[in-house]
């Protein structure tokens, strides 16, 4: 009784609401259908995990009124009997570009543009929060039809262009009622990405570094805009503030970027819903740590065409694994309780979605969880939980009528109802003719097997075990079968036609090849064997989930399947290069414990220690590279002449193979510097090369703060076709510094005054420099500019910590010494630019003799792995002692990086970052055998050998699997040899990052 009245209230409510509408009508009388529709006898999935057997679903005015097993059906209801059929909520694409045309790129110009093209908006063209997808929206019938066919009821679309892209719109895909029916929410969320708008060529940001920084700065600026009483108008910031309370989406696109954008979100207080890359499983613990909600593409790679061995050999293990492992990504995310929705974004067509999800299910994803990822989860993300994604009372009547679970292989979707509007995909009255039949013509017996989808069945015809050529057409109740006679040599075709009114025997006529006709009944022996088998097949599938190759850290060659652990190690009888007053100690033991150097002496022992016989070997502190560009996804933000706001810490790439190669060369710590595209570059990351660890864990605890500055040809853009960015001369470089530091001082004064101020990361960073809290490492070549920067620093009362490259340092070594600047130089590079004409390999020796703290750096992923050789060149060029030359790549860079209290020498209490060499560490004939960081052996020459054979074996296995896949008829993709980035000071990001 209560149910009944509740139901009446519901019905009344909805009719009252619609009764209020009045629009002029000039083409007839007003006739609205307010009838109820009742779907009876169906298996109803109100939500994927909440199902009703033989239930009734009642809808009216586009919404669900009620569902259940004992729903009273009102007399004015149209009844649709769905015996044996299923009702599922229709699916939602939460990340779509439906109906919004991608803008055309503006004309390219050769010279970079530094200024915005718009007025009255934010200073950066790529910040476009004022864009509303709804203003660009035009319902696209053809795409809508394809989407409906794939089971979609609602899509959430937006203009996929720019770093901040404005609002999106939630659209119902019904073909009836026009946009007023379709637009469910014209402001469904705000969208961001790391990619620039194609509408503008404004150079900044030219890198992912800049994109991340810009996302932060826009938020600060919008905050200031809202608070301050500015007299100028900024329509972008106004829109940004207006959109702030909407759901915030961001396209990250890869496991590493997911973590990066999440960090930005945390900094500015935005909980992003992140469009991932489908590769989350490779860093699943870190992804889980983000606590974010994800939207996951399901574009699983095709196997490579590996038939050509020469080409196949160029495939990396990581490429091969990607094919093997990616379909398991959804399962692994689910196992880790990460909330995710699926999207068809990135797929060639929405039809691929079900196919690929089916694959994910084969790899262990729960079917219902998969369905939730397209219904409940997107509904929750969109904060539309009550209206879409389920068939709860009051929700939109968006559902599919199917023959089974939408993700089962042979399921047919008959109808896709959206807001109560029916869209027929396949006729529901179609009879399921699938099954096994047999018939006899001219005393020849034929066995016919009809299988496949109900609406598009396929025939397999055999006679005496000969497979015959047979084509089946089945449409609009008529079936026709054309096949070759048993005697295939004659190429005689026999046709059979039948009107199908039941799903039992097929009655019709045979048309022989000679034109004569015979009436025939083809008898059904087994009813739809496929469906029955299918269930068991599914059960089997669940029992035998497809397995993948082991995931390693990083998930590429030389990754660890188990991260190596910290050990207590006792090195016996080594030659120990202490870098301390003890100098080089012969026949000495070193004990490392808890990640620290615990004891140095003779005849040491420790019961728990693993003893390593180091007789004839040398033990040194790990090598430190003051100037490196490995292990980063981006080097330069060159879109402006100052980019203090960017930080390499944002873009560390812990998966760069060069980390491993550097370890093999005895390197344990590096400074990843920003490039030299601008006088004020970006902030550094000072890291340890903990191969396999996550980006965050590489960074030093309480890391010293550094920033890259640069002088000379690169910042003047002398070797580029760029003539419109200040400065173009060394004269301008000086003034740029004076200008920026003056502004930073003013900024600090304002900040300290207690008056409101606009938070500006760039200025914050420069204030740190002025206050000696952040150190400069300055790319420099000729003496005039080196001298200049020291004078500028003097003027602002700070000192330049390090001049890096510093190839003419020898000309001003006395001035550097007086100023307190260190020099981190190349051993012997020169002749690559005009400004290195006077670069000499004796530079390190002269600076060292003048009392400057000297380091030898690499700036190069190749040289960094043999810095021991580069240090040895200081012995040849200028006669530096061996002990001092060794410090050039250990203790001295530690000092320059302000980490010498932790690393750089073998001293009790310091971090156990050490290298065991098979000989004199600066001899060309020597190799590193073990490289240890904080007691963990990250490189071991013997383990490396084992890894080599394991890699070879696994590649073979995977290539074999790909060959097999191709033989089975799977489509393949052509081989791609991955592009190798060798980062240097002047390396820029790709065009679109």
């Amino acid at each position: 009784m209560i149910k009944k009245s509740l139901f009446l209230i519901l019905v009344l409510c909805s009719s009252i609401l619609s009764a209020q509408e009045h629009f002029p009508k000039n083409d007839g009388v007003k006739s609205r259908n307010t009838n109820l529709t009742a779907f009876t006898n169906a298996q109803i999935y109100v939500a994927p995990s909440q199902s009703i057997s033989k239930g009734t679903l009642l809808i009216q005015n586009g919404k669900v009124v009620a569902s259940g097993t004992s729903i009273p059906i009102p007399p004015d209801a149209v009844i649709i009997d769905l015996k044996g059929k299923h009702i599922y909520p229709s699916i939602i694409d939460v990340y779509s570009a439906f109906g919004v045309e991608k803008p055309k790129p503006s004309n390219h110009s050769r010279t970079p543009k530094y200024n915005p093209s718009r007025e009255g908006f934010y200073w950066n063209d790529h910040i476009r929060p004022e864009q509303n997808a709804i203003d660009y929206f035009k319902f696209d019938d053809i795409s809508a039809k394809t989407l409906r066919k794939a089971g979609f009821g609602v899509v959430n679309t937006h203009l996929q262009d720019g770093i901040i892209r404005g609002t999106g719109a939630l659209i119902a895909l019904t073909d009836k009622g026009g946009d007023s029916e379709r637009i469910l929410n014209p402001r469904s969320g705000q969208y961001s990405s790391l990619n620039k708008s194609v509408k503008s060529h404004q150079a900044y940001p030219s890198s992912i570094l800049g994109s991340l920084a810009l996302l932060r700065q826009v938020d600060y600026d919008a905050d200031w805009y809202a608070k301050s009483e500015l007299k100028t108008t900024d329509r972008a910031l106004e829109a940004y503030n207006a959109n702030k309370n909407l759901v915030q989406f961001i396209a990250a696109g890869s496991r590493l970027n997911n973590i990066r954008v999440n960090k930005v979100g945390k900094d500015v207080g935005i909980e992003y819903v992140i469009l991932g890359g489908g590769d989350e499983f490779e860093r699943i613990t870190d992804i889980k740590k983000t606590n974010a909600t994800y939207i996951i593409p399901v574009n699983f790679p095709k196997p490579y065409d590996v038939e050509h061995p020469f080409l196949a050999e160029t495939l990396e293990l990581s490429q091969l694994r990607e094919w093997n492992q990616k379909p398991a990504n959804p399962r692994i995310m689910a196992e880790n309780n990460i909330t995710f929705a699926f999207t068809s974004n990135g797929l060639k067509s929405p039809e691929m979605l079900t196919k690929n999800i089916r694959k994910a299910i084969e790899y262990g994803l729960d079917k219902n969880q998969a369905y939730e990822a397209l219904t409940l989860i997107p509904a929750k993300i969109l904060k539309q939980y009550h209206t879409i994604g389920s068939l709860k009372n009051g929700a939109f009547a968006n559902f599919l009528i199917t023959s089974g679970h939408p993700f089962d292989k042979e399921t047919t979707i008959y109808e896709n109802w959206i807001k109560g509007n029916k869209h027929i995909l396949e006729s529901m009255t179609i009879k399921d003719i699938r099954g096994a039949y047999s018939f006899t013509i001219d005393e020849v017996t034929y066995d016919l097997n009809i299988k496949g989808e109900i609406a598009q069945p396929k025939a397999i015809l055999k006679s005496d075990d000969n497979k015959l050529d047979a084509k089946l057409y089945y449409k609009d109740k008529w079936l026709s079968l054309t096949f070759t006679a048993n005697d295939t040599t004659k190429q005689n075709y026999i046709r059979f036609v039948s009107r199908v009114d039941s799903n039992q025997n097929l009655t019709g006529k045979i048309i022989h090849s000679n034109g004569s006709e015979t009436a025939i009944t083809i008898t059904k022996k087994i009813d739809n064997p496929n469906t029955k088998n299918q269930n068991t097949a599914n059960d089997n599938a669940r029992a035998s989930v497809k397995t993948i190759q082991a995931i390693t850290y990083p998930n590429s060659a030389y990754g660890f399947s188990q991260m190596p652990q910290q050990e207590t190690l006792l090195f016996k009888n080594a030659t120990v290069w202490t870098n301390e007053s003890d100098g080089i100690l012969a026949n000495t033991d070193v004990l490392i414990k808890n990640g620290k150097i615990s004891k140095i002496g003779k005849q040491l022992s420790d019961h728990n220690a693993k003893v390593i016989d180091a007789t004839g070997k040398h033990l040194t502190a790990g090598i430190i590279d003051e100037h490196s560009h490995i292990a980063t996804s981006s080097v330069n933000e060159g879109g402006q002449n100052s980019s203090a706001e960017v930080s390499i810490e944002d873009v560390i790439n812990p998966e760069d193979i060069n980390i491993y190669r550097n370890l093999a060369g005895g390197v344990t710590s590096i400074q990843i510097l920003h490039g030299s595209a601008n006088p004020i570059g970006g902030r550094s990351a000072v890291i340890k090369l903990k191969w396999g660890a996550s980006a965050e864990d590489l960074i030093y605890d309480n890391s010293p703060k550094f920033i890259k500055f640069a002088l000379g040809e690169n910042v003047k853009q002398s070797n580029r076709q760029s003539y419109n960015r200040f400065p173009q001369t060394r004269m301008g470089v000086e003034q740029l510094y004076i200008d920026y530091f003056t502004r930073a001082k003013e900024y600090e004064t304002r900040k300290k005054s207690g008056l409101p101020y606009r938070k500006d990361t760039e200025m914050e960073v420069l204030v740190e420099v002025l206050n000696g809290e952040r150190f400069i490492s300055c790319h420099s070549y000729v003496q005039s500019e080196i001298n200049m920067l020291m004078k500028v620093a003097d003027q602002f009362d700070f000192s330049v910590n390090t001049f890096t490259h510093i190839l003419e340092g020898y000309k001003v070594a006395d001035k550097m010494k007086a100023h307190g600047a260190g020099g981190s130089t190349f051993s012997d590079w020169w002749a690559y630019k005009y400004e290195v004409n006077d670069a000499i390999p004796y530079n390190a020796a002269i600076m060292h003799n003048a009392g400057v703290t000297v380091a030898i750096n690499s700036d190069d992923a190749e040289m960094s792995r043999r810095l021991n050789q580069e240090a040895a060149k200081a012995i040849k060029y200028g006669g530096v002692s061996e002990a001092d030359a060794w410090k050039f790549i250990t203790l001295n860079p530690a000092k320059l990086l302000h980490v010498d209290h932790r690393v750089g020498s073998i001293k009790v209490g310091k971090d156990a970052d050490i290298v065991l060499w098979n000989g004199h560490p600066m001899s060309i004939y020597t190799k590193a055998e073990k490289t240890i960081i904080e007691g963990v052996t990250y490189f071991d020459i013997e383990r490396d050998q084992q890894m080599r054979s394991a890699i070879k074996k696994e590649k073979n296995t995977l290539i074999g699997m790909m060959l097999q896949a191709k033989n089975k008829g799977q489509k393949t993709q052509p081989i791609i040899k991955q592009k190798k980035h060798h980062m240097h000071c002047d390396t820029m990001d790709d065009k679109n990052h």
Binding site: H308, F310, L311, E313, T314, E316, L317, S318, S556, A557, I657, N658, Y660, R661, A664, E713, S718, N719, Y810, D814, D828, W829, W830, A831, Y832, K833, Y834, N837, I840, P841, Y842, I846, N849, A861, E862, R865, R866, Q869, A872, K873, I875, K876, Y877, G878, E882, M922, S923, I924, Y925, K927, D944, I951, K955, P974, I975, I976, K977, Q978, K980, D990
Partner: protein, 432 residues
């Protein structure tokens, strides 16, 4: 204004080009280096040697403890020191470009595809500051090689202490360099394509172009040459065996195809340059007496999956398989980096090759590959006295400290633009 700047820059470059040391005069008197460890360059060592040099040639290189040959001329005491044959840098662009970033100084690559007539020698700047910086490291000879095109042009071999290119020349127009088509090509990113490397669809077509050029030039050379064709003319030496074809190729397939191509066209003198995957076809190379100038040792591996030390040991793998191997230095900053050639050999030794075998990679083996082994590459009687004295092991940077160097017996200067600056500033600070 821009043009003025440009001119100014050019003038600057010219003015710095004149800082070269004066070439040494011809050897007038004989001398004998006594007591050094002589690294012959053929795999052997004479611990206490006597090297007698006269008229620009090595008269004898013998064991001082046992020899009865009388020493000649001045005695250079080299006890505890080491003597090596001058190192040879093949496939080099030394003297063809002075500053990488300044286009005005670049003479490395000519326009066009089939350029056998292009001759590196005449552009070789014997007064290059980079060339003189080779000598203090023991690199005394180079094969000056043009880049660019499919057939890049003709190389010549020079010594590094000369007034001009004529003086410098050791062997003129000795070989033709060909860049074999690559099996992978980069997408045209400027046209919106992915810049990843994809299989080169035009490979066969590109190979066919070379074949066509070879066939046509052969036909031309057989004919009456009514109209002179310079490129075809320049190919003659390849067919009559007077010139070597240097085929720059790295992949297994390219190398195999290149070998078959030369076989088919009766090009008898061949060397593979680069050879990253040459070990995979080592048997084929050995059987056909084709040597390899193995690519730069100090390089990162091509693939992430490759062994970290693969570039270090490539030469050793080839040597072990019986292939004749030399080391070349092309690549990033190749000119200035060529002075590290001895350390490339040292690195190969670090990764398993015997030290004296490693030395061959930059001396006798290279001389053989370049066809100059009759006059250079070892410390043997009758060969040019192009050698140097080092304080220690010249393959190790700690001990590659060279006190004397000779080219054809000429006592050459070891000063450079760089040593002069060094001394000047050392003095500046010492005075203070």
């Amino acid at each position: 204004m821009k043009i003025l700047n440009y001119l100014f820059l050019q003038l600057c470059c010219l003015s710095i080009g004149f800082a070269q040391q004066t070439p040494a005069p011809q050897q007038k008197e004989a001398f004998t280096i006594v007591g050094a460890t002589a690294h012959i360059g053929d795999g052997t060592v004479i611990k206490n040697s006597a090297i007698i040099v006269d008229q620009g040639k090595i008269v004898a290189c013998v064991d001082a403890t046992t020899t009865k040959i009388p020493y000649r001329g001045q005695i250079i005491n080299a006890e505890k020191k080491h003597v090596y044959p001058g190192f040879i840098a093949p496939n080099s662009t030394l003297g063809l470009q002075e500053i990488d970033a300044v286009r005005a100084t670049d003479d490395t690559r000519e326009l066009g595809e089939m350029l056998p007539h292009i001759r590196s020698l005449i552009a070789y700047n014997s007064e290059s500051k980079i060339v003189e910086s080779m000598r203090p490291n023991g690199v005394l000879i180079g094969q000056i090689t043009p880049r660019g095109g499919t057939i890049s042009g003709t190389s010549s071999i020079v010594q590094f202490d000369a007034w001009n290119w004529e003086d410098a020349a050791i062997k003129i127009d000795e070989g033709i360099h060909m860049n074999w088509p690559r099996i992978f090509k980069r997408g045209r990113w400027w046209m919106g394509e992915d810049s990843d490397l994809k299989p080169n669809k035009n490979y066969a077509e590109e190979v066919d172009k070379i074949q066509k050029f070879v066939s046509e030039s052969k036909a031309y050379l057989e004919g009456n040459k009514t109209i002179i064709n310079l490129p075809y003319e320049a190919m003659k030496g390849l067919y009559d065996g007077s010139q070597t074809l240097y085929i720059h190729a790295n992949s297994e397939k390219s190398i195999m195809d290149a070998v078959m191509f030369t076989q088919k066209n009766n090009i008898s003198r061949r060397v593979i340059v680069g050879g990253y995957e040459a070990y995979k076809v080592a048997d084929l190379l050995k059987a056909n007496h084709i040597g390899v100038l193995a690519q730069r040792v100090h390089k990162t591996p091509e693939l992430d999956d490759d062994h970290y030390d693969y570039p270090y040991k490539l030469a050793k793998i080839l040597v072990d398989k019986g292939v004749l191997v030399g080391l070349e230095t092309s690549g990033q900053m190749e000119r200035m980096n060529s002075r590290n050639l001895p350390f490339y050999a040292g690195t190969v030794a670090a990764h398993g090759l015997d030290k004296e075998e490693a030395l061959k990679l930059i001396t006798s083996n290279t001389a053989k590959l370049l066809g100059i082994d009759k006059q250079l590459g070892t410390l043997e009687a009758g060969k040019a006295a192009t050698l140097f004295i080092s304080e220690g092991d010249a393959l190790d940077m700690r001990t590659n400290i060279i006190s004397r160097a000779f080219i054809n017996g000429r006592n050459i200067s070891l000063e450079t633009h760089q040593t002069k600056l060094w001394k000047r500033y050392e003095q500046k600070y010492n005075k203070n």
